[in-house]
Symmetry: none
Subunit: 140 residues, 2 copies
DNA sequence: ATTTATGCAAACATTTTGCAATAAA
DNA sequence: TTTATTGCAAAATGTTTGCATAAAT
């Protein structure tokens, strides 16, 4: 497991370590995601940046979110409202609740032997992970 | 909580109990979801039914899935592939590899005490989960 | 200089809506 | 008969792609 991505600086460093260039627009996105605690849609990210005089096009938003999420620099969650993106500052994992829909962040750590087992089974080195839970509140 | 919907018959009965008519097309959808063990997209359901000479239109597929899911007759999960519907939960985990980019599917099961811990900490009932790993191959 | 990233325009995919025809009860 | 359901056509959203330009290293 490599370093967790807790701060904006971590995210920018991780980009460079991955061979991704720290472009103006990429920085805009990362700054926004580290400034907010919400999960945002591509559309929302596009709107907020352009409203804040941080010009960026739709294509760049989508391409960046896709690249950053697939490399584990940011997180992506699927919701009925669409695809939402957020930072890893607090916790990597979350619970998707239904009725009413809500996302709860949760901090969990997988047993290291479970991770080792996955690495050995697949011939990989795991650098990061997150767990996505689905469920509902106890009351119902 | 009312009776669990375990069989196709249960699902059809539940429809009637809810005042929903058991139309030809609605039955097609429920039969398909109870025949398969996969979660299917609206598109996939549309295609499979029409290919099987069980004619149904796009609108009906969407309207039915929406109605059935919102009334708890079937289950709906949001995935990166889109919105999927089914009659049971599957835990599908994978590893996102970089350099070259590749996704490996992996079957893992979390320790039940870890899940219980999350449920207690958050006051929720976990019905499903998946783990997303990030990493790279051992060679690189 | 080299390679990655940008972003317009357009294609593509998914989901929703109006509404007249149809079928279940 | 009554009322829910169907499904066409079209619109509203959301996402991806080709490619020439621009920018990062």
């Amino acid at each position: 497991m490599s370093e967790p991505i807790a701060t904006l600086g971590d995210a920018l460093n991780r980009c460079q370590a991955l061979g991704m260039r720290v472009s103006r627009q990429r920085r805009f996105i990362l700054e926004l995601l580290w400034d907010t605690k919400e999960h945002l849609s591509a559309r929302e990210i596009y709107d907020r940046l352009n409203r804040a005089s941080k010009p960026i096009g739709h294509t760049s938003v989508y391409q960046n979110l896709e690249a950053l999420a697939s490399k584990g620099v940011i997180e992506c969650v699927e919701r009925s409202e669409g695809r939402l993106y957020g930072n890893f500052s607090d916790s990597h994992s979350h619970i998707n609740l239904t009725d009413p829909e809500q996302i709860i962040d949760v901090k969990i750590e997988l047993p290291s032997d479970l991770i080792k087992q996955v690495e050995q089974q697949t011939g990989t080195v795991i650098t990061d992970y997150r767990v996505e839970f689905f469920g509902h509140r106890v009351s119902s």
